[in-house]
Amino acid sequence: MAKVTQLIHNYLRHSKRFPHVFCPGCGHGIVLGSLIRSIDSMGLAKDDVVLVAGIGCSGRIPVYVDFNTIHTTHGRALTFATGIKLANPRLKVIVVMGDGDALSIGGNHLIHAARRNIGVTALVLNNHIYGMTGGQSSCTTPTGSFSTTTPFGQLEDEFDISRVAKVCGASFVARTTVMQASAMDSLISEAVMHPGFGLVEILSPCHTQYGRKNRFKTCVDMYKWLQKSSPPLEKYRELTPEKQEKAIATGIFEKKDCEGLEEKYARMRRNLRGER
């Protein structure tokens, strides 16, 4: 275990100033650590990994890590990733997005990336809020909870990111939380190794913007709440319907054998060119 932190340090950009910009207790750092560990465990070269991010807190992740990193426009990270993957299928393209990034402004792109099954991995960091802009409600802000733009409680129903991805045809869908870092490591590895479109939804609490407005005294309270309310899928199934209502299942929701779009395209090209 001793080498874990040192290993992470090896992947960080030494020219960047640390600590990073995330608030104390923000889960995004844990995700970054997990991402580094899983990439290391898969034995991928730094050069072969492209980390693409959108705008928002999650968009700040790539700059710290020594891969090919791209900080794109709001919500469009998946479109850049699609271009990169089709242009050079050898690259492992990982997209880091926030909930607002992926499902609000970028909802269309998520739907279609899942549908066309492009071989990129999307990590959706769900903190239930627009963190960077100051805590406005997002499409995943739970019904009834408060934000700077829902001062009287959110009236709209929230998106279930994993479910959206699944019905859109994503061939690998999983959910985890930052309280389960080891599980997250293996889920990310599995998603990256998966040939088609893989999506991992990661619950990453935002105490600064969401927790404070919703009766969480400290960020540790949020982590405790996460620990309590996110049972693995098997346990979740055993719960009574009332309890299921309040719980958030974690684990793998979808995994099907498939071929990524870039592979299909390459095959079509080989056929047209008469190559084997």
């Binding site: 960047k16 492209v50 090919n68 794109t72 479109t79 699609t82 990169i84 089709l86 792109h109």
Partner: protein, 384 residues
Amino acid sequence: MAARSRRNKTTEIFALGNEAVVEGALIAGGTFYAGYPITPSTEIAEEMSSRLPHLRGGVFIQMEDEIAGLGAVIGASLAGRKAMTATSGPGFSLMQEHIGYACITEVPLVLVNVMRAGPSTGMPTNPAQADVQQARWGTHGDHPIIVLSASDVQECLRLTVTAFNYAEKYRTPVILLLDEVTAHTREKISLPDPEDINIYSRLTPSMPPEWYMPYEDNMRGVAAMPPLGAGYRYHVTGLIHDDHGYPTSKPREVEHIMHRLFRKIDQFFYDIQIVDETQCEDAETCIIAYGCVARSAELAVQQARERGVRAGLLKLKTLFPFPRPAVEKMLRQCSSVVVPEMNMGQMSREIKRVNNGQSKILTLNRVDGQIITPGQILSKILKG
């Protein structure tokens, strides 16, 4: 599809303007197209979809919207491809944010916009030249950009090659403006032998990666650009960044990159400025035109000469950076200048800006979705 004429023995084909764009792109080394279909630019996508898969590594993808189209093009360009997209009015509006992204991250790409008439959905199958200022200033924030305009089918091919060359040489998005008439006219064009054409590709770094600076300021103002995965790991961001690519808000570094972005285009101005002069040497009345209107103007000049009026035509192929020296020369020389265009005066605004009272400027604007006829220009010349 079905639009492509099968190759003749000579290298002449009978093709649409849109098809000529595709020929140009392929000659220039384009291997990636992502876009969203929109009239009157669709033939470009259709043609690309049937041609690109035959190329080694060629990729065509139809994205979910124009925003995604340009996003994928930027991604592919970062991965080392010569990439392009094509669109029309509404799609061009959607692409604006990504044009700015490509400007600040200095990603080479070519964007063809076949202009429509009117704002919003406008008139899909009628010509106009109403996106000239949008092409220049569409995306937010100060930025330099190269905007070209083709007036006939052969030019569609040539200028597409030029657009790719500029994009690669100066690491910048290049916008090629067409209009419905140019895009949908079929004409005979000769396909140049690729060996007769200068093709430029971006410079890639050749040094140990640790010493590579992705946005280094050098004499050219254009840094070398490696494809993703080549060992030069760097950070690409739409935030204002320093020479290493990391976000910065230090006033000195911000000023530095903004000035360099403009300088890299400015210092190559005379390479970028392309204009055609027709009978300008002794002209007293000059028509300054671009796109399909320049062809009407050509006939009008001929007819005016037959009536003893010494008219000339300055055809602008580069719209931005604004070809000021070429225009100023005609403003000094001629007593009147006619600016016919199919908008409410987007280019004449630029010309008036540099006029300084040297010449009388007559505008001729048509916005009914019809091309300006030679007769209209002629009567303007005769009256002026």
